[in-house]
Symmetry: C2
Subunit: 148 residues, 2 copies
Amino acid sequence: MDDDHAFMRLALAQAQKSYDEGGLPIGAVMVENGQVIAQGHNRRVQDGNPVAHGEMDCFMKAGRRPRYDTVTLYTTLSPCMMCAGTIVQFGVGRVVVGEARSFAGNLDFLRQRGVQVTLLDDADCVALMTRFIAEKPALWDEDIAGNG
Amino acid sequence: MDDDHAFMRLALAQAQKSYDEGGLPIGAVMVENGQVIAQGHNRRVQDGNPVAHGEMDCFMKAGRRPRYDTVTLYTTLSPCMMCAGTIVQFGVGRVVVGEARSFAGNLDFLRQRGVQVTLLDDADCVALMTRFIAEKPALWDEDIAGNG
């Protein structure tokens, strides 16, 4: 297994953890120089925090830093406009996306703003998200405020 | 004083509170049907949270809700790409901006995505932000990761 798929396994484990907690199953991992510096998952249900998407939770876990150009952010699901905007504002160098079938997200926006994007189209990421959306469609709708 | 300027006074009071705490002086207020539903300010310094810009703190304070089209968000400073992306993803109906001189932000992006934008060009908002940037340029640079 290459590094991208290995780190995506960690992000998917975060997503599964959130699913097991009754939350939205979207996970993220932040990596720098081959080292994991933060792991997170969606916390809308767990913390009642509407902006705590998986990627945002990773930024929070990583704490304060002056720059992000050497960072790669792994996320199980294609980033929404909030998370894509955050990636661009903070200048994250590279984003690796598990899947964009359940939610198209904003991959072209990221590329247009100079972010290196890799889409893995991972079957396990698709399966978990597909299952969740079928089980809790109202919660998924709330997480993206209907802007899917 | 009209309602927009009155609510901007509340946002500016939040910004001043953050300044007095040693943080970034950017405040925000969320209003629905003429009622304040949340007030917040930047919490990078106070909480060590890099995504807690003033607007984001307001979303957190407002808690979970399914839609935001009836919401007006007041912010003392033009929204960065993270906050603009959040406003668009959650479908906030209207944004009132204190000033865009210290930081141009993303007003055209918001308008292009269907958000109603009002720029007050408030002298007191400009004065507080100008003073802060002169006093703590490195902290301001960190807050926007150099992407000003």
